[in-house]
């Protein structure tokens, strides 16, 4: 019973994820073909002759019907061929492999900070009842939620460079070269990105913990004479985890945009920087390829989150909730 219900749930999530991914690929593909003037004019410049443009179109298959081009592109993407940068001639997949570690490390650090700091704070805030504490956490929370990441990042850059607080405010050292220097360089960018995440987790987690604490099964556990620590560990945390997982998936989506800002601000040679350079240099192949990969990653993370809920809360599998 449970198994088939669970299997159906997972299959459903997988199908939705695949459909969304396909829709996004159409969106990304058509976006580039909506560029005024089209691919060829962008590559060859506005002064190029119509004959030369036509030749280029023919060479890249741009003169074929769009659906055919789309399927062709999709076939290439499926085999890992994301096209060639129109600026440098480097394959986009090579750029991806070269730059991915920087962005992945940045996102991983920010996510870890968010979880390690946010979750304990959320539990504490959820358990405390004072009006003052609630007001203070609300003020701090809305500040952290409202301050744009580039403002926060600029503030950190200013403070750490002006007062020499001991952390570098830009540049990148590869992890393999010098792990300590790498971490020091990554500290401020990751911190900048995690402030919003921490605020998000604290706000959501606090409400979730407080709500679970009012649930009858907690009263039952306390009435049984269970220790508070036992009740929190076994009965509160697991139940309060679901909204926090949801919000963490949202946060990963934010991280992808935030990475653009932070890599720009702290001069990190990551993927987001490449997307930004691609737009500035009208390098559509790069933008197209990297945005597609990022979206795919985001969709997969959301799918993972959906599957995690089902593991945490058996009711989700059978459609009792959400």
């Amino acid at each position: 019973m449970t198994l088939t219900g669970g299997a159906r749930y997972f299959a459903g999530r997988l199908a939705t994820g695949a459909a969304t991914l396909l829709a996004i690929s159409v969106l990304v593909f058509s976006a580039v073909h909506l560029v005024p003037g089209g691919y060829a004019e962008v590559v060859l410049g506005p002064t190029s002759s119509p004959e030369v443009r036509a030749a280029l179109r023919a060479e890249f298959g741009l003169d074929r019907p769009l659906p055919v081009q789309y399927l062709e592109w999709l076939r290439h993407v499926a085999t890992g061929d994301l096209g060639v940068s129109m600026g440098t001639g480097e394959p986009v997949s090579d750029q991806l492999i070269r730059r991915l570690p920087v962005t992945a490390e940045l996102a991983g650090l920010a996510l870890s900070l968010t979880v390690l700091v946010g979750v304990p704070l959320a539990v504490l805030a959820g358990l405390s009842r004072g009006r003052f504490g609630r007001g203070l956490s609300r003020l701090a929370g809305s500040t952290a939620m409202s301050i744009p990441d580039f403002v926060l990042g600029s503030l950190l850059v200013f403070l750490f460079s002006r007062f020499a607080l001991g952390l570098p405010v830009g540049g990148h050292v590869p992890l393999a070269e010098d792990p300590v220097a790498n971490l020091r360089a990554m500290a401020l960018p990751a911190l900048t990105l995690s402030v919003f995440g921490i605020a998000l987790v604290v706000r959501t987690g606090r409400d979730a913990v407080a709500a679970v604490f009012n649930a009858p099964h907690i009263t039952t556990a306390l009435a049984r004479g269970e220790r508070m620590a036992h009740v929190i560990r076994h009965h509160v945390l697991r139940n309060a985890a679901i909204p926090v997982i949801t919000v963490l998936a949202t946060y990963v989506g934010y991280l992808m945009g935030g990475a653009v800002i932070v890599e720009n601000l702290f001069s990190l040679p990551g993927l987001a920087q490449a997307v930004l350079n691609g737009i500035r240099g009208r390098d559509y192949a790069t933008v197209q390829g990297l945005v597609l990969v990022a979206s795919a990653a985001f969709i997969m993370i959301n799918m993972l989150a959906d599957i995690t809920y089902a593991v945490v809360d058996p009711r989700v599998r059978e459609g009792h909730r959400r």
């Binding site: 007001g135 744009p148 580039f150 503030l155 919000v247 945009g257 930004l276 691609g278 500035r280 979206s295």
Partner: protein, 274 residues
């Protein structure tokens, strides 16, 4: 009035109204021309004469800040109006017509929602080119899916109620039902969601402008002011920190007013998207 006994929301409302007043009255304030160069020394620190300092071209920062506030609210505001129009219309339609139309609207919203928001904005700017139109379209496309979802959910509960059924039995057409019966009942939800959309819009616009993909010089929004000042951060931090702080203050005021509205109107909004 709303916001009974909620100090934080009331203070935010005052701050927000103040900023809006500055935005509206900006051009008539005796602060000087925001575009005039060399009216003072270059990169002068804030002082009695130059309250918020001057920039690298010797422009006074104060009128530029006022223009920045004005532009930031204007762009986000226009985008939110678009979002409300699009989101409310589609949300009500998706609630009224079950079947393929609703399915199409909901799936479309889901796909847009599955895009990381700033990434979607960047992709759009790649098409439109940097500038205000790209920013506004981005905000509309980023904020609409949530608006559609929230309005649809609110409408669904109204559409099934007896007075709507009675109106339908009485021969009222879909337009009349949606405008006369459904719209007033989802207006509160839409207003609350619109305040959250406003804060998201300000974040998106300023983010794009900070990356140099939003508003182009000589126009100024708070985000583009930070972008322009970023190069001088070590020597003229006021060029970055003052517009940055104003931006954070404005967004926070909008968010807290949204919270207050939500509590006062007793509707549920979905805020988190950035």
């Amino acid at each position: 009035m709303p916001f009974h006994g909620d100090l934080l929301s009331r203070v935010s409302l005052v701050v927000l109204l103040g900023l809006l007043a500055v935005a509206v009255l900006g051009p008539w304030l005796p602060l000087g021309d925001p575009a005039a160069v060399n009216v003072g020394p270059r990169l002068a620190a804030p002082s009695g004469e130059w309250w918020t300092g001057t920039d690298s071209l010797g422009r006074s920062v104060l009128p530029r800040l006022v223009e920045g506030i004005r532009t930031t609210f204007l762009l986000a505001g226009v985008a939110v109006m678009g979002t409300v129009a699009l989101g409310v219309a589609l949300g009500m339609l998706a609630a009224y017509y079950r079947g393929p139309i609703a399915e199409l609207i909901i799936r479309g919203a889901d796909v847009l929602f599955a895009f990381p928001s700033l990434l979607l904005a960047i992709l759009l700017v790649a098409i439109t080119g940097p500038g205000a139109p790209g920013a506004v379209i981005s905000i509309v496309l980023i904020c609409s899916p949530l608006m559609v979802r929230v309005v649809r959910a609110a409408s669904l509960s109204v559409v099934g109620r007896d007075f709507v059924v009675a109106a339908r039995v009485g021969g009222a057409g879909p337009v009349r039902i949606l405008l006369v019966h459904v719209l007033p009942n989802v207006a509160g939800t839409a207003v609350v969601q619109a305040t959250y959309a406003l804060s998201v819009g300000m974040l998106i616009e300023s983010g794009l402008s900070f990356l140099g993909l939003g508003l182009q010089p000589p126009n100024a929004s708070l985000g583009s002011l930070v972008h322009e000042g970023a190069v001088y951060l070590p020597i003229a931090p006021w060029l970055v920190l003052i517009p940055g702080a104003l931006l954070a203050l404005a967004i926070m005021a909008v968010n807290l007013v949204g919270d207050g509205l939500r509590d006062a109107l007793d509707v549920r909004g979905v805020e988190v998207r950035r």
